[in-house]
Amino acid sequence: MEWVQQLINGISLGSIYALIALGYTMVYGIIKLINFAHGDVFMVGSFIGFYSITVFNLGFFPALIISMAACALFGVIIERIAYKRLRNATRIAALITAIGVSLLIEYGVIYIRGAQPEAYPDVFSNRSFAFLGAQISIQSILILSVSVVLMILLQFIVHKTKTGKAMRAVSHDTEAAKLMGINVDNTISATFAIGSALAGAAGVIFGVYYTKIDPLMGVIPGVKAFVAAVLGGIGIIPGAMVGGLVLGVVETVVSALGFSLWRDAAAFVILILILIFRPSGIFGKNTREKV
């Protein structure tokens, strides 16, 4: 039952993509900015988790929570310093700034601690059990359940809390939301905080699952998570989850078929096909452009 195994690997990878993609999609939904630095927040989260496990001898869950909190703060700082002034700037200016912030975080981290990779410590026992003929490690079950819990939590925040309501309102129509007395700046900061916290969680999970982290690890998962967000329909939260899972499974299947060097290309081919044939994504609605 090789295929069940591959499917489970794909879903584990996909849930990491989905967690990162959620941050992209929420930020894009609210200020129409592709936050290129999001992949680097993921990297920073991974390193914070690493240091809290190795230096402070914490367990997986405390490390996860510390990393999420630190990333939330980091995301808000990035937003306040770099993106806030660009609310009314052109899209190209905002995009270039995001690229600049991304490079600054990557090379800032390299400058501080060097470019050498780190090996993530084992936090779970490597036990596994057989299911339908596939070997499933406890680790991947835990990772999957953490991702699912976080996504359910996100759905709860977005749909049941006041902040979530404000976020939906701002993303629907910023001006009208402002007139209704919603504090737009704080809502945008909250969006960044939640998205970055999810990226931080994804970073810790990625580290535990793949065991190797380095300062440039965020680039490729970041771009792929963006692909996942576009695939699901950018700005749509369930879309990001589905897009991430689909992308993870597709990549794993491509690797399993023996084309592991082409794995990265698969994501971009999907991206280009989606952009050309259905730019609004799987869950998106077509919007007509008005003059």
Partner: protein, 316 residues
């Protein structure tokens, strides 16, 4: 009449620059390191000017320029190393194939706008890189040996041709159509301009010169590897155009010269170099989103000195 005067002034200046540098290289005042720096500046200017045509003039935000650089570099290396043809043929073939790649990439993706186009071009560039990574004929990840054929003469002649072609394109009716696409695509569509045609044409011309730069690049470095043509290379080219001013050719040229010199001096400290690059990107976008020169050209400043009203030829 005035245009032709400007043209001849430019040619004379170019010949002078060429002669001075060539004189110093020939009599040995400038060693290998400096002559290489000059060649590298010329290559970077070609790249900056070719991307300027796509982003600055036509307003299509492409961040995958390194893909076309890679096509030019690999195709020209195949022409000289595997087919044993002369270098000049390699430059032309490299440019042509890159232009073809530009057409193939541009026709589907230029239907997209803004952010989506940026991501699509990034994706295409990455696909091009992965394709080269997987072809054993060109050495895969280990790279391909290329002999050192690029000289200052080749680099400078290519540079001058690039600038002349792009300036002439910009000042022709095609260039004005392209600028109208940049300013407002819907309005220029309504005025009867075939916007898709001009976008694809500008993209293909930009790709052609990126391919030419690729040919010079690969024959200047002894070895080419797919890892040289990643995201970072695209961002390197992007920063030339952004810093110089979106829509300013002389700005792109100046910032290419400036940043190449800076990065040559910081070669030993790649992290510092990237931190400076990224800070420049952020600060320029936050405090001067038009770039150093905006859409002005150097010649516009001369006109400003002469006539207090200012030049009337913006957006060249």
């Amino acid at each position: 009449m005035k245009k032709s005067k400007q043209f001849w002034l430019f040619i004379i200046a170019a010949v002078l620059v060429y002669a001075v540098v060539q004189f110093f290289i020939a009599n040995g005042t400038m060693n290998q390191f400096y002559s290489n720096t000059f060649i590298f500046i010329a290559i970077n200017i070609i790249l900056a000017v070719s991307l300027h045509l796509v982003i600055g003039i036509t307003g299509q935000f492409s961040i995958g320029h390194a893909g076309f650089l890679a096509v030019g570099a690999y195709i020209s290396a195949i022409v000289t190393m595997k087919l044993d043809l002369p270098f000049i043929v390699a430059i032309i073939v490299g440019g042509m194939v890159a232009a073809l790649a530009g057409l193939i990439v541009g026709i589907p993706s230029l239907r997209l706008k803004g952010d989506y186009l940026a991501i699509a071009t990034l994706g295409f560039a990455e696909i091009i890189r992965i394709v080269f990574l997987n072809i054993d004929y060109v050495g895969g990840a280990a790279g391909m040996q290329v002999s050192h054929l690029t000289t200052w003469t080749y680099a400078f002649v290519c540079l001058v041709i690039t600038i002349i072609v792009i300036v002439n394109f910009t000042n022709s009716r095609h260039g004005i159509a392209a600028i109208s696409v940049r300013e407002n695509e819907i309005a220029s569509d309504a005025m009867g301009i075939n916007t898709t045609y001009y976008k694809v044409a500008a993209f293909a011309i930009g790709s052609f010169f990126a391919g030419v730069a690729g040919a010079l690049y690969s024959h200047n470095f002894y070895i080419i590897q797919p890892s040289q043509f990643g995201f970072l290379k695209s961002f390197d080219i992007l920063i030339f155009v952004v810093l110089g001013g979106l829509g300013s050719l002389s700005g792109a040229v100046l910032s290419a010269i400036l940043l190449t010199v800076v990065s040559t001096y910081l070669q030993g400290y790649p992290e510092t170099r990237m931190i400076i690059y990224s800070l420049v990107l952020i600060l320029v976008m936050l405090y001067r989103p038009k770039g150093l020169m905006g859409t002005m050209e150097i010649t516009d400043y001369f006109k400003l000195w002469r006539t207090p009203k200012g030049g009337d030829q913006h957006g060249k």
